[in-house]
Amino acid sequence: MLRTTQLNAFYGLFQALFGVDLNVAPGETVALVGSNGAGKTTLLCSLAGAISTTRLAIHLNGQPVGNSNEIEQIARGIALVPEGRRLFASLTVHENLLLSERNGRSGPWTIARILEELPVLKRLLERPSTTLSGGQQQLVAIARSLVANPDYLLCDEVSLGLSPLAVDDVYSLLAKVRRAGTAIILVEQNVGRALTESDRYYCLRKGQIVLHGISAQADRQAIAAAYFGV
């Protein structure tokens, strides 16, 4: 279980999250929705260790992990696919994957397994990673985090800027990830998509959770109200 307790997060002097309580059970898919600047990325970065928080603000399987860095979180099985993909331009696709595989945990997600699930990558392996199309890059970015074999995969806006077909490819990969038993936290602008792809959802506004529930039973109007604060 990954859990936050009254999580506060800051960028310098600016407070971005106010007392956020959230939990994700093993194997669950949880969606985070909210307008720009609501704090979704900040929340993911805090969980991944990119933003430091107080020790007791985040617990993983009962252990306090709040003041960890990214490398420690990877070792614990929490991996973040950052917004904007951020593949390494000086590295080929293969090198991007090799890098993460070597630094991550061992497990079922090897590069061979990735190539089985995504055959399209086979002929792209030796290409510089940023010469791929947006959709292909997104698949590589997710794959890059997968080969670290996380228990909790954090996805920040993975459908941003992609064509509908590419978005479908991305979500079918995530479906495979889900079937393998990995928990996913999904930040997604498209509320409808977010709800269909998740078990539960949280809605953020101005750094606070204003609504949460089970995705299948979600009231779209209530979400819209919470999203915009009317």
């Binding site: 990214e70 593949l87 590295l91 890098l99």
Partner: protein, 289 residues
């Protein structure tokens, strides 16, 4: 005509030494985006360490590398871990200011320990050997310097292109935040990198110490030559620094022909001229800045 050829060769071989000075600086600027103002003083430190090892063990200058290189690697690792890693991240100019202070401390510590007198590393017969090649007289040591330089560049380039460590280095140079997200420990990487840089410096230091008499305050000028090699070659290009060093060596030797005291001056002039005409250097990717 022969003399002109000899001058050119001398310039190229001096340039090889400068390229070796610049190799470490190119790495630190390209990967860690920082400049170590004490870079030249560390070269001088290496030369003094070699002198110390030679005095203590009776080894000759080139063999002393066996002790000097690991020692310098350790010093580099410690320097980065204890001091410089604390400056990276927040203010981009903090590493420059801290290493400026380090430069002053290092020069004065060397002066305390070794006195301000000029000395050089004895290479015995090796520094006198030369062979004739079609009427030209080529020194063995300068030739060896050139060979060692090319070897060092080739090894470093291979390390960066082929090894896991090299991949991490390139990733961190591209995007340090994203690199951390895939488990790259950038602080430990930087410690290893500074260790490598000082190991490379130790090579340069011994070759330099054999060739030129040095003193505790000789550091800053070495830094300037290293820096000029990097910029002339083009920011972000490793092999470019080799080319830059060669150009600098040539400029200096040519300048010396005009007036023996003006070698470095001509180098500076060529550097500034390049800056005006072609600021990205020979092989530079302008984006890197």
């Amino acid at each position: 005509m022969l003399t002109f050829l000899e001058i050119t060769l001398n310039g190229l071989m001096l340039g090889a030494l400068y390229a070796l000075f610049g190799l470490g600086l190119s790495l630190s600027l390209g990967v860690m985006r920082m400049i170590n103002i004490a870079h030249g003083d560390l070269i001088v430190l290496g030369a003094y360490l070699a002198a110390f090892v030679m005095d203590q063990t009776g080894l000759d200058a080139l063999t002393s590398i066996v002790f000097v290189m690991p020692l310098m690697f350790a010093i580099g690792w410690l320097l980065q871990s204890v001091l410089l890693n604390r400056t990276i991240g927040k203010d981009p100019m903090a590493p420059l200011l801290v290493t400026f202070g380090l430069s002053i401390v290092l020069q004065n510590v060397l002066q305390e320990i070794f006195s301000a007198n000029v000395r050089s590393l004895e290479a015995g017969e090796l520094s006198l050997l030369s062979f004739s090649f079609g009427g030209l007289s080529i020194g063995v040591l300068p030739l060896a310097t050139a060979a060692i330089t090319i070897g060092a560049y080739a090894l470093t380039a291979a390390l960066i292109a082929k090894s896991h460590w090299g991949r991490q280095v390139r990733a961190v140079a591209d995007d340090p935040d994203a690199a951390r997200l895939v488990g790259v420990n950038d602080h430990r990487l930087f410690s290893a990198m500074t260790g490598l840089i000082l190991a490379l410096i130790s090579l340069a230091a011994i070759l330099y110490g054999i060739r030129t008499p040095f003193s505790p305050t000789a550091g800053p000028e070495r830094l300037l030559f290293a820096f000029e090699s990097v910029v002339l070659g083009g920011l972000g290009s490793l092999w470019g620094t080799l080319a830059g060093g060669l150009i600098l060596g040539l400029a200096q030797v040519l300048g010396q022909q005009v007036n023996t005291g003006l070698g470095a001056f001509f180098g500076h002039l060529v550097f500034l001229a390049f800056l005006i005409v072609r600021p990205q250097g020979l092989f530079g990717s302008a984006a890197r800045q």
